[in-house]
């Protein structure tokens, strides 16, 4: 069956088939390898960037993607907008849509806000993060990076470490990997931030092998995996007050990847992280060949270029 990306909303990674993900990843690779061929491809196209929450990598890389493809960017600042005067999201979106953008990129603190926005807008929308819910372009750039590291996505052996209770990148990556063959995930987290039961139950229905472990078990697993996917543990996930503070400090101490742990890893082993990283990876590791997180972040540019082009004009695969 032919798929058409034209005017398609990019809301959740679950909406994409394996074939579609492969197509996006391969197209992004083509753009990465031949940037000169694509530098005017979005000429006369305009992207409205609606960030209702702070963002470093996502907002910048979407803007850079559009500019490097020869397109225009209109940025919306929620701090100085009429939202401060009490305007609803619906009215803000209706007004923006009236300016006839070719594509809207939006981040918003509420879960489900992008799906809601997709019903208001005529222009296609790309989810740049809706609360704790979805961040599909992050998952696509993660898959792109895995393929770049190992040459394939099938048979990936990965440990996903950190806040697996709330971490949306961890959940989305697990769902995406279940679309491929023979992948294996080790979920490694402190007891209080384990993968929720509901998510585990959902994953059991999917085509993926997985296991759960405590932080101390990482040393037994690290030498047999291709990818170590670290995520950040956030202070706000622990109870307010002294007890929560102590628990956070205790976990922070244990949860820091040390260089010594990498002594016997596979030669093509790499560490990924959606960034920002705080204390969870010792700075020394940045200089080793195993650190892939900055390259991974840079890959966001190519994935976003591919999506912007596919949904605004080059839709058919």
């Amino acid at each position: 069956m032919e798929t058409n990306f034209l005017k398609r909303d990019i809301i959740s990674i679950e909406d994409f088939s394996r074939k579609e993900l492969d197509y996006i990843i391969n197209y992004a690779k083509e753009i990465k390898n031949n940037p000169e061929n694509f530098k005017e491809i979005m000429k006369h196209k305009t992207m409205i960037s609606l960030f209702f929450e702070n963002s470093t990598r996502t907002a910048t890389s979407f803007k850079m993607a559009m500019l490097q493809l020869g397109g225009n960017v209109m940025e919306f600042n929620s701090q100085t907008s009429s939202l401060k005067k009490g305007e609803t999201l619906k009215d803000t979106l209706k007004m923006m849509d009236g300016y006839s953008p070719d594509v809207v990129v939006m981040r918003h603190p509420n879960d489900g806000s992008i799906k809601f926005a997709s019903h208001i807008l005529n222009a296609p929308i790309i989810n740049a993060g809706d609360g704790q819910n979805q961040h599909p372009t992050q998952t696509m750039l993660d898959l792109f990076s895995i393929k770049e590291i190992t040459g394939k996505i099938n048979e990936t052996k990965i440990a996903i470490v950190g806040d697996l209770k709330y971490g949306r990148t961890a959940h989305s990556l697990a769902i995406a990997l279940s679309k491929y063959e023979n992948c294996k995930i080790h979920f490694i987290s402190p007891e209080s931030l384990k993968v929720p039961k509901k998510f585990i139950d959902a994953l059991k229905e999917k085509n993926i092998e997985f296991s759960e472990h405590n932080l101390s078990e990482l040393k037994n697993i690290i030498n047999n995996i291709d990818i170590l996917y670290m995520t950040r543990i956030q202070r706000e996930r622990f109870p307010i007050g002294k007890e929560g503070e102590e628990e956070y400090k205790k976990i922070s101490k244990i949860y820091s990847l040390k260089k010594e742990l990498l002594e016997n890893v596979k030669s093509d082993f790499r560490i990924m992280h959606p960034l920002p990283k705080i204390f969870e990876i010792e700075e020394e590791i940045d200089k080793t060949p195993f650190a892939y997180y900055f390259k991974q972040a840079a890959n966001g540019l190519h994935i976003r270029k591919a999506l912007l082009n596919l949904i605004t004009q080059n839709g058919r695969i």
């Binding site: 009490g86 609803t88 999201l89 509420n110 879960d111 489900g112 806000s113 799906k115």
Partner: protein, 157 residues
């Protein structure tokens, strides 16, 4: 004949029978019986149900038509009740309460951070129901029947 059948016979209206006694008052609330000033109303509780072998409640309301909103709410609270539509003193139709596949504006999503729970946005909730699980259309939060007790939205119509 069950005792409850002898009480307050009506010519036209509805009879909801075999209501578990612990949810009877909730059903009364849903039907807004307090506000109804016309037509006979009979409410019984602690009657014996041959159907369930337990204590039951029933409600008979004259000149009342059940809206689909009311049906959906009753189904959410107690899906096993019997609803009889009475016309000219005869049972014209027997309905069973069934939770519909789509609940629009009936129950709130259990995720407080969901866009549909933001009061300033005034977005109607949109919940799908499949295989005994509720899923929010917007944020994909899933929840079960036990979790919806405090999620029912007051009908403001």
């Amino acid at each position: 004949m069950e005792e409850s059948k002898k009480i307050g016979k009506i010519e036209n209206g509805i009879v909801i029978d075999h209501i578990p006694t612990n949810v009877l008052w909730k059903v009364i609330e849903i039907l807004k019986i307090k506000e109804k000033t016309d037509g006979k109303i009979s409410i019984g509780t602690n009657y014996y149900s041959r159907k369930t072998n337990e204590k039951k409640g029933f409600i008979k309301i004259e000149e009342k038509k059940l809206t689909s909103y009311e049906m959906n709410l009753i189904a959410l609270i107690t899906p096993d009740v019997t609803i009889n539509i009475i016309e000219n003193s005869y049972v014209k139709e027997k309905r069973s309460a069934k939770i519909p596949n789509k609940l629009i504006g009936i129950i709130k999503c259990t995720n407080p951070n969901c866009i549909s729970n933001q009061q300033t946005e005034k977005i109607q909730s949109n919940i799908n129901f499949k295989e005994n699980l509720f899923t929010c259309y917007y944020c994909d939060q899933t929840f079960n029947k036990k979790e919806i007790k405090n999620q029912i939205i007051e009908n403001t119509n």
